[in-house]
């Protein structure tokens, strides 16, 4: 079984935020206002965070989303098993099971699990543009990046209909598909021949806050000084 992972090359990333827009559109993530952002209630599954990476050159904008940890702190604290590590390494979030206790949002060291403080709203003109493969999360539950898991389900179904095995090319999240600088590479980390596995093993690779032992499956690349 695949173990899905994402590599982001910070030396190629131009911080254009196309991935942020693609993610919002793909996953029915509602808009946030400056007021909600100022209150720390920004709804975005991926955002560019200004960080300093001392051993990897100058400060940079880090595209930060759920790191899909192999040892996720969020799943350990969930009282209802609404969030769990699925067999393919994706940290899933089952919205109807979530009781909104926000233990997971506090346990996540990356602060990428988001609580719905408000009922999501869109401009009227955008209402028919929602992705039917992704539910609209109600007020009171926690949501997060799922590596566009619905795309995996679609790809697997198509592969079966075609009578073939699922290949890495069949399934890419919206952010990876959109990145104009081709700074993002997605695939099976357990496949030693996959591009993502080769890049993840390169000397430029590092994981964000890896010293915490969360074993993220999002790997960043940055040339050292």
């Amino acid at each position: 079984m695949a173990r899905w992972g994402l590599v982001i090359d910070l030396d190629r990333c131009t911080a254009c935020q196309a991935c942020v827009v693609a993610c919002k559109h793909e996953n029915n993530v509602p808009f946030s206002t400056p007021a909600t952002a100022a209150a720390g209630r920004l709804m975005t599954w991926i955002q560019l965070v200004a960080v300093e990476t001392p051993s990897h050159g100058a400060p940079t904008a880090l595209p930060l989303m759920c790191q899909q940890c192999d040892r996720p702190p969020c799943t350990d604290v969930c009282p209802t098993s609404a969030t769990y590590l699925n067999p393919e390494g994706i940290v899933a979030q089952i919205y109807p099971r979530c009781i909104g206790c926000r233990y997971c949002t506090n346990a996540c060291p990356y602060a990428v699990k988001l609580f719905n403080w408000h009922t999501p709203e869109w401009p009227e003109s955008m209402a028919p543009l929602k992705n039917p493969d992704v539910s609209v999360r109600p007020k009171g539950v926690v949501e997060k990046c799922t590596f566009c898991h619905h795309r995996l389900m679609r790809a697997r179904e198509q592969a079966r209909a075609d009578g073939r095995e699922l290949s890495s090319e069949d399934y890419v999240p919206a952010c990876v598909q959109t990145c104009p600088a081709e700074a993002m590479v997605f695939g099976d980390l357990d496949d030693p021949n996959s591009e993502v596995a080769v890049l993840a093993a390169s000397s430029r690779a590092f994981r964000w806050m890896e010293e915490l032992g969360t074993r993220p499956k999002v790997v960043y690349l940055r040339e050292g000084e």
């Binding site: 769990y84 699925n86 067999p87 994706i90 899933a92 089952i94 919205y95 109807p96 099971r97 009781i99 909104g100 206790c101 493969d133 992704v134 539910s135 609209v136 009171g140 799922t146 898991h149 619905h150 389900m153 179904e157 079966r160 209909a161």
Partner: protein, 160 residues
């Protein structure tokens, strides 16, 4: 915090309890369609999407008109004419799943060879359109079948 959690728990139990006890609102169709009379047709003959797409879909008035050049005996000619000319899809879904459930007809019918009656019960033999879903579908209905068939029980596989 404890009070909020207690309130949430009570609200959840009340919501689940009421959904189990209270049936969904009845559905009235524009036409009193007789499934049994159309038994010679396959399900896919009218619900064209069951083999190829996520949604089964309902037939448009044009599909009816392929066989019914004029109004069927049980339908007033004026009403039939209006349905044909308006082109509106007038069927109302009876079997509905919660918004957070991802169900693909292609995956189940075309790939897994699941019989329509597994979920839709005896609708193919009904002489009048049912007001409510012919078989009550809950998560255990899905899970029982998934376990029996060795299909995935990963929550994220069905909950979107």
């Amino acid at each position: 915090m404890r009070r909020a959690l207690l309130f949430t728990g009570v609200a959840c139990i009340a919501a689940i309890g009421s959904s189990l006890i209270l049936p969904a609102a009845p559905v009235t169709q524009v036409l009193a369609f007789n499934h049994a009379k159309h038994a010679a047709l396959t399900c896919a003959g009218c619900h064209a999407g069951i083999q190829t797409t996520q949604r089964a879909g309902f037939p448009s008035p044009a599909v009816c008109a392929k066989c019914h050049a004029t109004a069927p005996a049980s339908v007033a000619p004026a009403a039939w004419e209006q349905l044909q000319t308006s082109g509106v899809r007038f069927w109302k879904p009876v079997t509905r799943l919660p918004e957070h459930v991802m169900f693909s007809h292609r995956r189940h019918v075309a790939l897994a060879r699941l019989a329509c009656a597994s979920c839709h019960a005896d609708i193919g033999e009904r002489t009048a359109p049912p007001a409510r879903m012919p078989r009550r579908l809950v998560m255990n209905t899905c899970l029982a079948c998934h376990r029996a068939e060795g299909a995935s029980e990963d929550c994220a596989g069905c909950h979107r």
